[in-house]
Amino acid sequence: MEVSAQRHADSGGLPDSAVEDLDTHAVVVRYEPMVYAIALTHTRCQGDADDVFQDVFLTYHRRQPAFRSEEHRKAWLITTTINCARQVAGSSWRTRVVPLPTGEADAAPAQFEFATVEQNALFAALKALPDSYRSVLHLFYFEDLSIARIAEVLDLTVSTVKMRLSRGRALMRERLTQGVFDD
């Protein structure tokens, strides 16, 4: 898949933007889609993702960390969400209760569902990847981060990011018969 240069240009030598004075509510509103999406792809069920979503912003609110720039805040949220998801996923290895917002009786925790079979297949394939590949692919495809930015956020070298991107794509290609990830 060819990705045009413009899409992933958020760190093409431009200076980082100054950090805005946002209260927690505003931060939630701005970054909610990003945090929730990472939570969804990095946890085993929707209930866990819901927990991670809340935990990340509550932690943010409690710590009130100081940021050098808006990109710094975004990076903090990304790594905190990934770490939180890993801890939650670890504890979900065994049975884990997921409080259901509705009154339904489920014997197993509910999975997030997309509108089409194709999207669900992609989601399942992404979730089946090993942690390290999944994070890179998620940030690249869902957050449009450049390879350089991904390397910065995840504290990896650019070559490691490139390797995981290409190996991750190969693994995804194997799982899906349709050529979504074919170059």
Binding site: M1, V3, R7, H25, V28, E32, P33, Y36, A37, L40, D50, D51, F53, Q54, D55, V56, F57, L58, T59, H61, R62, N83, R86, Q87, G90, W93, R94, T95, V97, P99, L100, P101, A105, D106, A107, A108, Q111, F112, F114, V117, E118, Q119, A121, L122, F123, A124, A128, P130, D131, S132, Y141, F142, D155, T160, L171, L176, T177, Q178, V180, F181
Partner: protein, 665 residues
């Protein structure tokens, strides 16, 4: 087109509006995130906080039992058999109705059965011997695992194969490989669409190696009515239909001989070995509930196989739990490994996710996330919490391989793992976490301890052992129970259970982080392995702790070692922990979240020096797997570290690598 799909998915990945509202409410209320709450103002360490609990009802019950002349044991009839609440089900019609009327089966993840088939938490038992054995829960009862050894050969499961390795220091080499995908062993019992999956468990008994594999069938009921795409691009879930125990004679480990198979419906939960009897527990869901036929029992009861002979379970070998949460059976069978036959079976409609086996009973536990009012009340769910799950328990008595459902009961909350159950002096001790909603929509949890009698009725309890904390690990040791609960600070409770009618908390030691695994070391010492989490919620890695439990009323932490590592299989699977108190060694694998690499770490504990690292080594693992299975074994002053890809051999003196054997091609 390809970029568009990510955009479309992004737009859908949004939290519920109610979830966001709840978050804002919690932010405004100054709520803490789950992993970082301030420590509770509970008892200070060293000061025992006795809680006497002797409800009038329990006291009367105990008195009545004693009056009948039962010395705290199971009620036993004059002919030596135990009382059974159910002598099986009357006929197939009853079972047919129960299966049809059960709530529909839950949705499983796509292909979940084929990728990660490892059973949840079996229990392992220590055998008193100088050779390495699987780290088990109950001494005399062995537990299945993916790596087994008799001190001379190491058997490692790897995909559909089992590698047999001669453990001989620098002469370590692969003797033979069993391929379960070929030959008689590889012929599925089911129809053409049946697939046989990888090896899920191994058990070794003398010169008999039992290899467990699971057959899967596609859930054809899930096929959509119309197929807009080519058929081979539709992913169907596969359900475990049959688990087979493949029996091999390994008296000459270089030439393993297949001897036959004994199978039972469902996916493997766990295995246990007591003497020459193998107990196999599976969980079988009747996926096609609507397709069951009244006159064909095989469509609604589990079946048992001997090689290719298939027979449905008999009604009198079946039972029905009071309110099954789905059409799922827990199937227990006893196999005589010397005669290679099945002795007995017990199938219980209601399922089982946790199994604990003592010398005389198999306990099955399953979680009911929506218990009915009467069930919740009987299970003593706290009155101020709603939506608390309940654990349904069944006791299956074991007598020379004869199985019978002897009792059923429930307790409030869920079990953290198999170690939350323990039978001692005729009573069952249970530690649970009760998670529920308080009246003003806030979720909370508390830990509780319960003591049940042979009828699985409540004798006594400490229903709120720790408020706002869940159980992280449990280890019962005769008359004392150790329970670790956690919010951000880890109280380690020592509970006196010597008097079943009045358990009392002897001490509560509070330390940051939590232990996921507890192991009684020698001489009043308790080893803990878990996460190092600061009071503000920072996860700093792992830690090893040694507690002084010589005076349970004043448990102290002798020493602790912080380990800079992200994660460990040992936090989730007790079999991954190597504990050798005689040699003072503790070993376990650690993994990195960044790149998934695994290394095996070995530590020594000495009273004066505390924990020191003996060494560590990198373990090649299959990155495509989730958390890899890695086992370390000490045999004759040598450490063998086995994974599905290799066996690496280190001489303990000087910690020098002397051999490395590749198991994958």
């Amino acid at each position: 087109m390809t970029n568009k799909i990510f955009q479309e998915m992004s737009e859908q990945m949004r939290p519920d509006a109610a979830l966001r509202q709840d978050l804002f409410a919690r932010i405004d209320a100054g709520d803490e995130p789950a992993g970082a709450r301030a420590p509770e103002q509970t008892s200070r360490p060293g000061r025992p906080k006795p809680r006497w609990l002797a409800p009038a009802v329990a006291a009367v019950t105990v008195a009545a039992l004693i009056g009948v002349g039962v010395n705290g044991g199971w009620s036993v009839n004059s002919d030596g058999s135990t009382n059974t609440a159910e002598h099986g089900v009357a006929d197939y019609a009853t079972l047919y109705a129960a299966v049809r009327n059960a709530p529909p089966p839950p949705q499983t993840e796509m292909g979940a059965g084929l990728e990660d088939t490892r059973a949840p938490m079996p229990q392992t038992a220590d055998v008193e011997s100088s050779t390495w054995t699987t780290n088990v829960q109950v001494r005399s009862i062995d537990e299945g695992d993916l790596v087994k050894s008799d001190g001379r050969s190491i058997f490692v499961a790897s995909g559909k194969q089992v590698s047999i390795v001669r453990a001989a220091g620098d002469g370590t080499r692969v003797l033979a490989r069993i391929d379960t995908a070929t030959g008689e062993a590889g012929k599925p019992t089911g129809d053409d669409l049946t697939l046989q999956g990888p090896v899920v468990d191994l058990m070794l008994h003398g010169t008999t190696l039992v290899v467990l594999v699971t057959e899967y069938q596609p859930r054809t009921t899930d096929l959509p009515a119309s197929l807009p795409m080519p058929a081979d691009s539709v992913s169907l879930p596969f359900d475990p239909s049959l688990t087979k125990a493949l029996i091999y004679d390994v008296s000459d480990p270089a030439v393993p001989r297949y001897q036959g198979s004994l199978g039972q419906s469902g996916g493997l939960v766990t295995t246990r070995l007591a003497g020459n009897l193998l107990y196999v527990v599976t969980q079988y869901t009747v996926v096609d509930q609507q397709g069951t036929k009244k006159d064909d029992p095989a469509t609604f009861v589990p079946v048992f196989t001997q090689d290719h002979l298939v027979k449905p379970a008999r009604p009198d070998d079946c039972g029905i739990m009071p309110a099954p949460s789905g059409p799922t059976y827990a199937v227990v069978s006893s196999l005589d490994l010397d005669k290679r036959t099945r002795i007995d079976s017990a199938s219980l409609l209601g399922g089982a996710s946790t199994v604990y086996m003592s010398d005389t009973n198999v306990y099955l536990a399953t979680t009911d996330y929506s218990p009915s009012g009467p069930v919740a009340e009987k299970a003593r769910v706290p009155k101020d919490l709603s939506r608390v799950p309940v654990t349904n328990l069944a006791r299956i008595s074991v007598n020379a391989g004869q199985l019978a459902v002897a009792a059923q009961g429930s307790v409030a909350g869920r079990l953290v793992d198999q170690f939350a159950l323990d039978e001692w002096d005729g009573r069952l001790r249970v530690a649970t976490t009760m998670e529920g909603q308080r009246s003003h929509r806030a979720w909370t949890l508390q830990s509780g301890l319960w003591v049940l009698d042979s009828d699985l009725s409540l004798v006594s309890s400490i229903p709120s052992l720790a408020k706002n904390e869940g159980v992280r690990s449990v280890r019962f040791d005769g008359g004392i129970g150790y329970v670790v609960t956690f919010r951000s600070v880890d109280p380690l409770f020592a509970i006196d259970l010597s008097d079943a009618t009045s358990p009392r908390v002897l001490s509560a030691l509070k330390i940051p982080g939590f232990s996921s695994y507890l192991h009684p070391w020698a001489d009043g010492r308790l080893l803990g392995l878990g996460r190092d989490i600061t009071e503000s919620g920072n996860d700093r890695g792992l830690k090893l702790s040694m507690f002084d439990t010589s005076n349970p009323a004043a448990v102290t932490e002798l020493t602790t070692l912080r380990i800079k590592a992200d994660n460990s299989e040992a936090l989730y699977d007790h079999r991954a922990v190597l504990v050798d108190p005689a040699a003072g060694l503790v070993g376990f694998p650690v993994s990195s979240w960044d790149d998934g690499t695994v290394s095996y770490e070995l530590y020594r504990y000495e009273p004066t020096a505390g924990f020191t690292q003996v060494g560590h080594l990198k373990v090649p693992v299959n990155l495509r797997q989730g958390l890899s299975t890695v086992r370390g074994m000490t045999i004759d002053d040598t450490l063998y570290v086995a994974s599905s890809r290799s066996v690496i051999v280190y001489r303990l003196a000087g910690f020098v690598q002397v051999a490395k054997v590749a198991l994958d091609k």
